[in-house]
Structures are given as structure tokens and as C-alpha cells.
């Protein structure tokens, strides 16, 4: 799509982003930019060991260091632990094991980076100096970091209550029906997969400022959060027992989250709690090294999958077994990621009639794992699209044809899958056809042959995916274990002169809501784009909100704003009817003007707004003055974006280097408000997907539990020269159950792309005999795969 950054500002136009002036000129206000009078600085002393008993902590010398205001350890902390927001029940009906997670460790550390002491001083340098003088005696214990080995005999035990380190052992689907289908299968394709652990790496590291006001008894927490109201709920109600009316949570400008800033982190509770103890504001800012040891990480699934096909290549059953690593503690949404955000998508875009999945979650001596861009759907998409690809190779059916044969046809919606979800709309053939055309699928073999002349191995890979987002219908997720509702709140305040402030419970940390929502409101109310301001991120300003994650902001948050605007328009029509002495039923509203059917009478939206606040000529006995409305929107279903991603790579067989030379993403995301922002979201997601496929990996030492990739010296972030110019298009069917028809775009790039990349790598390596490779397909790994295939061939 051509991003039109001209002067149009309505729905479907691409005005420049309102927020970019302050971001690009360094004028944003991030949490670390906030300084309160009398502020102190917190440094958190973290465990150097993956697993150890705390025998003794001696803080005497450290407390006497210059500038130190206080030092707290687990023995001093007198409040609650950080809760988990989602409860899963095991096959046998028993609830998951929920170990306590205190912000400061009481007697044992369970991962490198676990929190041992909080040092508060007049400067961060003094806090660090003092922390160096704290003498902690540890008794080291054996550690377990391996996902696949955590539940095996002999593994170190992370929690006494979690036997075999098992948090839960869950399943979904009809096992008997799946077994029966496999028994009569014409062909079975089997695959073992690892979806490796990733570090989220938002550009802005986490930070928090706690500020207790003795005069009012009110606490304020400034924090890098994607959902300030959720933090207020979790920290206020569960950790510190501060009621909502005495706790304000502000998430100002936030520099990226990718999921990692959804969760309530113990540092937030610590600075809030400590600010009351030291009677001064307390600021904590993570540095990059600390982020690697404390931000919840993503993915980390080990799976075995089996697909049963009949003689025509129709999928007749799917069976999956996954072990998911939770890390040492249960982060806010961790249990739902491998279960309800992952296994429920196993039908993919296919008509597989019966599916059975088992998911075991395990504790290990590693940083907690939770939702990271895509959260569960990238894992499932990777599994399915690798499996389908392998089935095509094994059966000899063309890989595009095999997908087509099994697509849910566009006439079959709404479509009930065998794993709980009901898809509302989609047209998988259409996105596939467009992607094949844009990606030059038909003449690829010419490019392969040309590359071969240059000594390069060229390959092309495809992934046809679906995801579930627009999170989420409260009653549904409640029945699945969510401990909160997942509606959204929008408030529209029309000012007397007709300008508008929109308050949304979603949170923008790079997505451009200040622009997109302003387009939506401007277009709907007929007021200028410049006259709409979007406000978010402060629990004292915004009535309520569940925040931004799961590609929900437009589909759920935008729908709440639409509902609030419906109320505004309904009231404004009554005011307009009064002004024009007409019946409300005869009032039409279009392009910012109220007209009376069959007459040339009209009043502008601005006139109505002014009348609402200066009600001299006003139906005061039947209507309140003012023009401000609030709406809550609880979605009726998830939304289901989907599409086709095609990747083309070139591999240097001498060095194993893979270069992504072409990438095409055709996504069905429902109604598009701002095509430029959509393109940007897809670009970012695809780059993260290429990062997972080729570059990124959180590696722990299997013996010591030390994080081996704890800085950018060893953790490979994608850079500009790692990615090609990405071709993006949308081909949308409308979401049928929300007022906008929008499905969500935040995560599709990261969901659809990894299998497209790996399928391309394997397509390139097929001529040299390589049939499997794990992510990330680093040069070293690709070279090794080529060597082993060569040796195997030589041995034949």
C-alpha cells in the first residue's frame, strides 16, 4: 500500500504522527525524566547465583556509607508478594502451583538477578557504592535451566511444592478422537521443535518512581507500563494493600514494551513501599544489563508435534505436546501464554477436524517468562507452518497446494475450530494469492539458478497464519482462568469550543494512538484532526482501562471510543433538535453538521458543543448540560487477523551466512485507520520475527545457570543491514463483531514471519541435504548443518 502522508486526516489516510515531534526532538517525558523534590535513588542488589540459600546478609557497613538513606532486605519487607493474573488448572482439576514472589528474597535466590537488597541513597553512585559493601553469604545449590529436562528425575528442584518442577499439566481437545484419526492416517508427519527464549529489549529500559505524600496519604507511582490501571489493581490490592483512591499510577511516554511492560514488576512495589518508609520519593532505573536479568523474557517452548493426513493430503488430526518454561516465578500472564494464547490456535487456517494438545509448564532457575510480541501465537504458528511444510516435503504435494487443500474456505465463517475458538471472518486464498504475486513465487526458480551461478544457495519459504487478538471477551477469559475483565474504557470530552479530548484506557508506547484515535474521532465527529487530543497513561485522568497488549488498542479501545462517540452524537442530536425546533428522529448528523430531514436547516457540531456548555436556549428539563461521555466496551469475541508471509534468503555455503533478500507480508487486519502506521507495525513485527529466526537467543549456562547472552556483546539484536526492504500489503475482511471492523496489527509481523524465514532457509539448504535446523539459524549453525549433511552423504 502506498502510505499517503499528505494532508488528509480521516480514516484511511496517513497523516504524520502527532507524537513524533516530541519523540524525534528528544522532548518526550519518560519515567526516568521525572524527578520529584527530595528524590532518592534506589539500587537493587541482585543475586549472582542461579540458585542458592541466603545464609546471612550483613548490611552494617553499607548502612554507614555516605548518602545512604536506607537499606532493606527480605527480612524488612512486610507486605505481599507479586500475584499472577491467570490461573490454569491441570488435567486432574488441580490448580496450578503458585509459589510466592516477594520483591526481596526471604531465604533463597532462584535465578541470577533475583532481588536480594534494596539500597536507597542520595545519588545512584552512592547507592551502588553502598551495595558493594553489603556482605551476603550464599550457600550455592544445583540449578536447572533446561526447559526439556526440568521435569525429569534428578533435576534440581526450584520450589518444594512444585514436584518435578511442574507448575501445571494441562490439556485441550479430544484425545480419543485424535488417537482414532491417527490410527487410520495415510501419512503421519512428526517434528520436534524448540521455540527459543528471547529477551524483549524495549529501547527504554524499565524505570519506576515511587512518591508517598504524607499530607494526603496518597501514593503516586510513575512507571514504564503498558497498563497503569492494571498495575494499580495488582500492586494496590494484592501487594501493598493501598486502596485505589489513594494510589495513582502514571505511565508517561514509554519507549517500547513488546509485552515486557504489561506485567506488574516487584521493583514498582519496592519503590512505592520504600517511599513511605524513607519519607522521600524513590527512583529506580534499570540499566541494560539489569534488563537482561529482570525483564520478563519470551517464548521458550519445547514441542513435539504430529500431523495425520489422509491419502488426499487432507489434515485429519493434530497432536502436540509442549513443555513451556515459566522461569523461577509466575509472571502476570505467564500461564495463559502456552495454553489459551497458543494451543487454542492449533487449527491455524486449516480445517483439521480434531486436535489434542498437552502443555506442561515448568519452573527453572531463570528469569520469568511471559508474553512477548505475539505471546503464544508465534509459537503455534511456527509449529504449524514448519509441520505443514515438512508434510508437503514428505508427501510430495506442493507446499502451496497442500495449504490450499486444507484452508478453511471463505464461505465457512463463522468457523468453529476443535480447540475452542470461533473465527469470525477471513479469506485465506485471497491473502495467499496476493502474497504469491507480490513475492514473485512463480519465477523464483530463475532466481535460485542465478544465485547458484554466484555460488549462493537461494531459498523461498511461506507461512499462512492466523492469530487471535483484540483481547478479550471478559466472560470467556474469566471461564478460562483470567482474574480480570478485559474490556476497555473510552471517554470523549467535547469542550465548549468544539475541540475534543479523548481519554483512553489503552496505552501507547510507540504505536501511535495519539494519531490513530484522533483520526477516528475527527472523522466521526467532523472536527478538525488538530482539534483532537488523545490522553492516556494516568489513573487520575483516565476513568479506567486495561491497557495495551494483544493487539487490542484499536479493536477494543477504539470500539470503546466509538461507543462513547455514539452517546455524544445521540445527546448532540437532542440539543440540535431543540435548536432547530425539530424532532430528534428527523435529525441527521454528517461531516460535523446536524441537519433536519427534508429542510435546509443545519447547525454545526461546534454550535451544539457551545450550547451544551452555555445552555441559555436548552432543553434543560430533559437534558443535562455538558457534552462528555464515557463508555466501556467488552468484545464479543477475539479478533482473528491472518495472512501470508513469504521470505526469500540467500545463503553463503562457505560461511553459513543467511541474508534475507526479500520479504512479503500480506495481512488481513480488518479495517485500517492509518496505513502508514500499519506498515510501520508490520515492519517492526517482521524485523522481530527475522530476529527470532536468524539472530536472537537467550542462552543460559546449563551448569551454572548464568545468562550467557546478558549484553549486546552476545545477544544479537537485528540491525538495519539484517533486513531487506519489506513489501507490505493488506487484504482485509472485516471483523464482524466490533463496530470498527478492525482486527489488530501489532503482533502479526512477529507471528507470521519466523516460519517463513526458516522454511526459506531449509528450502535453500535442501540441495545440500539439510532437512532441519533450529532457531536462530546463525551462520555457525547453518555451516554445521551443511557439514553434517555432507558427512552423512559421504557415509552413504
Amino acid at each position: 500500500m502506498a502510505a499517503d502522508s499528505g494532508t488528509a486526516t480521516g480514516i484511511g489516510a496517513s497523516p504524520k504522527r502527532k507524537e513524533d515531534f516530541r519523540f524525534l526532538t528528544g522532548r518526550g517525558t519518560y519515567t526516568d525524566d521525572i524527578n520529584r523534590p527530595g528524590q532518592t535513588y534506589a539500587y537493587i542488589l541482585r543475586s549472582p547465583h542461579a540458585h542458592a540459600e541466603i545464609v546471612k546478609i550483613d548490611t552494617a557497613k553499607a548502612k554507614g556509607m555516605p548518602g545512604v538513606a536506607a537499606i532493606f532486605t527480605g527480612a524488612d519487607y512486610d507486605k505481599g508478594g507479586v500475584p499472577c493474573g491467570w490461573q490454569i488448572h491441570s488435567k486432574d482439576g488441580s490448580p496450578m502451583i503458585e509459589p510466592p514472589h516477594f520483591p526481596l528474597c526471604k531465604d533463597r535466590v532462584r535465578h541470577v538477578g533475583d532481588q536480594v537488597a534494596l539500597v536507597i541513597a542520595n545519588s545512584i553512585a552512592e547507592a551502588r557504592d553502598a551495595a558493594e559493601e553489603i556482605d551476603v553469604t550464599y550457600k550455592e545449590l544445583p540449578a536447572i535451566v533446561s526447559t526439556g529436562a526440568a521435569d525429569k528425575a534428578g533435576a534440581a528442584q526450584v520450589w518444594p511444592d512444585a514436584k518435578n518442577n511442574t507448575c501445571f499439566d494441562w490439556h485441550i481437545g479430544d484425545k480419543a478422537a485424535v488417537d482414532a484419526a491417527f490410527a487410520k492416517a495415510h501419512h503421519v508427519t512428526k517434528l520436534d521443535l524448540i521455540n527459543q527464549r528471547l529477551a524483549p529489549n524495549a529501547m527504554e529500559p524499565r524505570a519506576a518512581v515511587g512518591d508517598y505524600d504524607r499530607a494526603t496519604g496518597e501514593y503516586t507511582l510513575y512507571t514504564t507500563s503498558q497498563n497503569p490501571h492494571v498495575i494499580r489493581l495488582l500492586m494496590g490490592a494484592f501487594v501493598l494493600q493501598i486502596p485505589e483512591h489513594k494510589l495513582r499510577v502514571v505511565a508517561p511516554d514509554v519507549g517500547g514494551g513488546f509485552g515486557s511492560k504489561i506485567f506488574h514488576y516487584s521493583e514498582e512495589a519496592l519503590v512505592t513501599w520504600a517511599s513511605e518508609k524513607v519519607r522521600r520519593p524513590v527512583k529506580w532505573t534499570s540499566d541494560r544489563s539489569e534488563a537482561f536479568l529482570s525483564d520478563a523474557q519470551g517464548r521458550d517452548h519445547v514441542s513435539h508435534a504430529e500431523l495425520a493426513l489422509d491419502k488426499d493430503g487432507k489434515f485429519i488430526a493434530l497432536r502436540v505436546n509442549t513443555i513451556a518454561n515459566m522461569g523461577a516465578y509466575l509472571s502476570t500472564f505467564a500461564p495463559c501464554v502456552p495454553t489459551y494464547l497458543s494451543a487454542t490456535l492449533l487449527a491455524g487456517v486449516y480445517t483439521t477436524p480434531v486436535i489434542y494438545a498437552e502443555v506442561k509448564a515448568v519452573f527453572t532457575n531463570t528469569v520469568a517468562v511471559d508474553a512477548y510480541r505475539g505471546a503464544g501465537r508465534p509459537e503455534t504458528t511456527y509449529l504449524l507452518e514448519r509441520l505443514v511444510e515438512k508434510a508437503a516435503r514428505e508427501t510430495g504435494i506442493d507446499r502451496v497446494e497442500l495449504r490450499r487443500r486444507n484452508f478453511i474456505p471463505k464461505t465457512a465463517f463463522p468457523y468453529q475450530t476443535p480447540v475452542a475458538l470461533q473465527y469470525d471472518s477471513g479469506d485465506y486464498e485471497a491473502t495467499l494469492d496476493l502474497a504469491l504475486k507480490m513475492g514473485g513465487w512463480a519465477d523464483f526458480e530463475n532466481r535460485r539458478a542465478e544465485a547458484q551461478k554466484r555460488g549462493k544457495l537461494r531459498g523461498i519459504g511461506i507461512s499462512t497464519y492466523i492469530e487471535a487478538c483484540g483481547i478479550a471477551p471478559s466472560a470467556v477469559v474469566g471461564s478460562l482462568g483470567a482474574r480480570a475483565g478485559l474490556y476497555e474504557c473510552g471517554q470523549v470530552r467535547v469542550h465548549p469550543t468544539g475541540s475534543v479530548t479523548v481519554f483512553t484506557g489503552t496505552h501507547s508506547h510507540g504505536q501511535g494512538h495519539e494519531t490513530t484515535f484522533a483520526q477516528l474521532v475527527s472523522d466521526t465527529l467532523g472536527v478538525p484532526f488538530e482539534s483532537v487530543e488523545v490522553s492516556h497513561g494516568d489513573t487520575n485522568k483516565i476513568p479506567f482501562g486495561m491497557g495495551t497488549y494483544g493487539s487490542r488498542s484499536l479493536a477494543v479501545g477504539g470500539s470503546a471510543i466509538v461507543k462513547a462517540m455514539d452517546k455524544i452524537i445521540a445527546k448532540a442530536k437532542r440539543i440540535a433538535a431543540h435548536l432547530m425546533e425539530a424532532s430528534v428522529a428527523d435529525i441527521d448528523f454528517k461531516n460535523g453538521e446536524f441537519t433536519v430531514k427534508g429542510t435546509d436547516k443545519k447547525v454545526s457540531f461546534g454550535q451544539v458543543a457551545l450550547t451544551a456548555y452555555v445552555p441559555h436556549n436548552y432543553p434543560i428539563t430533559e437534558l443535562e448540560p455538558g457534552l462528555e461521555e464515557t463508555a466501556f466496551y467488552d468484545p464479543l469475541n477475539f479478533t482473528y487477523p491472518g495472512g501470508t508471509h513469504i521470505c526469500e534468503v540467500e545463503i553463503d555455503p562457505e560461511t553459513g551466512v543467511t541474508q534475507v533478500v526479500n520479504f512479503t507480508a500480506v495481512d488481513d487486519i480488518g479495517r485500517v485507520i492509518n496505513p502508514m502506521i500499519v506498515e510501520g507495525q508490520v515492519h517492526g513485527g517482521v524485523v522481530q520475527g527475522i530476529g527470532q529466526a536468524l539472530l536472537e537467543n537467550c542462552a543460559y549456562d546449563q551448569e551454572t545457570g548464568q545468562l550467557l547472552t546478558g549484553s549486546y556483546m552476545d545477544y544479537t539484536m537485528p540491525r538495519a543491514d539484517d533486513v531487506p526492504s519489506i513489501k507490505v500489503a493488506t487484504h482485509s475482511t472485516m471483523c464482524t463483531h466490533n463496530p470498527l471492523g478492525s482486527k489488530g496489527v501489532g503482533e502479526v509481523g512477529a507471528i507470521g514471519s519466523p516460519p517463513a524465514v526458516i522454511n526459506a532457509v531449509l528450502d535453500a539448504l535442501r540441495p545440500v541435504g539439510v532437512t532441519d535446523i533450529s532457531m536462530p539459524a546463525t551462520p555457525h549453525k547453518v555451516w554445521q548443518a551443511i557439514q553434517s549433511a555432507g558427512k552423512a552423504k559421504a557415509a552413504e
Partner: protein, 264 residues
């Protein structure tokens, strides 16, 4: 970062004096390794002695059969120097590919050689070209200078003042970057000199930069194909997350061949 006293002497003699009188003095010559180390509190010198104000240590000139580069000359200056590009284009190419723009603006050749990071680029050029390291006390041949990772022939109070590179007939440098840090996983410098073919490898060796004799032997005729055929033993090579010793050994031959093909 811990506190330290900061000195910015105007002469080498004053720098030596400042180092000598500090309880734990450390020279800073660009700081591209030292500063991150200080920030992570992995080093806490009492005094930092910055060589940045010593005019005598800067600049590039043609001298005798080659070129001489002042120790405090930043990488960006070497990369863009017409003298270097004219005499030893491979050296300009190498300097142009060290780190990123910021590193090349601050980092210096003297700092790099004094630090002798096992994955740094300049040691490969110095050893590959048979350079001479000049200090305030003496001249040291590259073959004698490098003594293992982060270890050199420099003595206490000895400061590199300049590096002299003899002009080769041809030379080339190929770097295969470690994907995350983009330091050399393996970097190979090849030079056809009056005294024969010299090859130096950085990034791969457990003892830092070294001359792989198998490759030098194969390269008697300076042929790219011969280099690729050389079998490099992996026994003394590094093995880590980003590459096994066998992979590094393989890359040495491949890169040597590419460096020869690209040599100018």
C-alpha cells in the same frame, strides 16, 4: 563508575610522570574499551591519564618505505587518510570497519594496540604487515610485541608513540563478524611483502592475534584458491556460543582466500 582523578598532560614525559606518581594510574587513549569497563565497575583506577592533549602523538605521514601513524590518531582519520589509502589501502579499509562511527571517532591505533583485545582489528594489521611499534623507550617489532590476549611487550611506564607500517606489494583484510558484538569472530590480514607472505589472524586464537603457518605456507604464490585449501588446526582456537574452534579454523582459510582475492 567509581571516582578517579583525571589528568590531561601535554607531553609524553608528563604522562609518564603522572602514571608513575598515581597509586593505580591508567592511561586512556580513546577509551573505547576502558570506559565501558569503568562504567560496569570492573576496573577502578585511582587516576586516569588522558593522552588526548599530546599533539606529538597525532598524525599520519609517509616515512621511508612506508607510513607512520601517531598513536593517538583515531580510526576515522586512518580510514580517510589519502596517505594510507595510497600506500596501504587494506589498512584504510580495516580502519573503516572497526566498530561503528562513534568508536572510529574516539578510538585510537595506539589504544587498540596497547590493549591488544583478542578480537581487535589493528593487531592483525600490525602483525600481518610486520609493523614496528614505537614507544617512548624503544622500537618493538610486531613479531615480538604481541604476547597473548590483552598482553604485550610494553613495560610499566612505556607509552606507544607511533606505529610504522612498511608498504607491502599487496595486502588485504577480511573480517567475519561475531553477529552480536560485530567484533571479529575471525579476521584475516594477508600481505605480500618483500620478506615473503605474512598472514595474521585476529578473533580466533586463544592467545590473541597470531600467524597461521599453514596458511602462510600455502600462500607462497599468493593464490586465493591455495589459501582456501589450507588446513588450519583448531586446537588453539576459541570456541563459544558464536562459533566452534572448527568453524573458526574453516573461516580462517575461507577469509584468507577472500583477502588474497581482494588484496590491493
Amino acid at each position: 563508575m567509581h571516582n578517579f582523578a583525571f589528568h590531561r598532560p601535554a607531553s609524553v614525559a608528563d604522562a609518564v610522570k603522572a602514571v608513575g606518581s598515581a597509586s593505580d594510574g591508567k592511561i586512556i587513549a580513546g577509551g573505547q574499551t576502558l570506559l565501558p569497563t569503568l562504567r560496569q565497575r570492573l576496573a577502578s583506577p585511582s587516576d586516569l591519564i588522558d593522552l588526548g592533549a599530546i599533539a606529538d602523538l597525532k598524525g599520519i605521514k609517509a616515512e621511508g618505505d612506508g607510513i607512520t601513524i601517531g598513536a593517538m590518531t583515531p580510526h576515522a582519520e586512518v580510514a580517510s587518510s589519502a596517505i594510507v589509502q595510497g600506500a596501504i589501502p587494506a589498512l584504510a579499509h580495516l580502519a573503516a570497519h572497526i566498530g561503528d562511527r562513534q568508536v572510529r571517532a574516539r578510538g585510537t591505533i595506539g589504544g587498540s594496540l596497547a590493549n591488544n583485545d583478542p578480537a581487535a582489528d589493528y593487531p592483525a594489521a600490525a602483525l600481518g604487515l610486520g609493523a614496528t611499534i614505537r614507544t617512548n623507550k624503544r622500537e618493538i617489532k610486531a613479531d615480538d610485541y604481541f604476547q597473548g590476549m590483552f598482553s604485550t611487550a610494553l613495560e610499566d611506564g612505556e607509552i606507544i608513540t607511533a606505529v610504522h607500517f612498511p608498504k607491502p606489494e599487496k595486502a588485504g583484510y577480511e573480517k567475519f563478524v561475531q553477529p552480536a558484538s560485530r567484533f571479529a569472530l575471525v579476521g584475516v590480514f594477508v600481505a605480500k611483502t618483500k620478506g615473503g607472505v605474512r598472514v595474521a589472524v585476529t578473533g580466533a586464537g586463544q592467545e590473541g592475534v597470531f600467524r597461521p603457518k599453514e596458511v602462510e605456507a600455502a600462500l607462497a604464490n599468493f593464490s586465493a584458491d591455495a589459501a582456501k585449501g589450507a588446513k588450519v588446526p583448531s586446537g588453539n582456537l576459541n570456541s563459544d556460543l558464536h562459533g566452534s574452534a572448527e568453524y573458526r579454523a574453516h573461516l580462517i582459510s575461507v577469509l584468507a582466500g577472500r583477502a588474497v582475492a581482494a588484496a590491493k
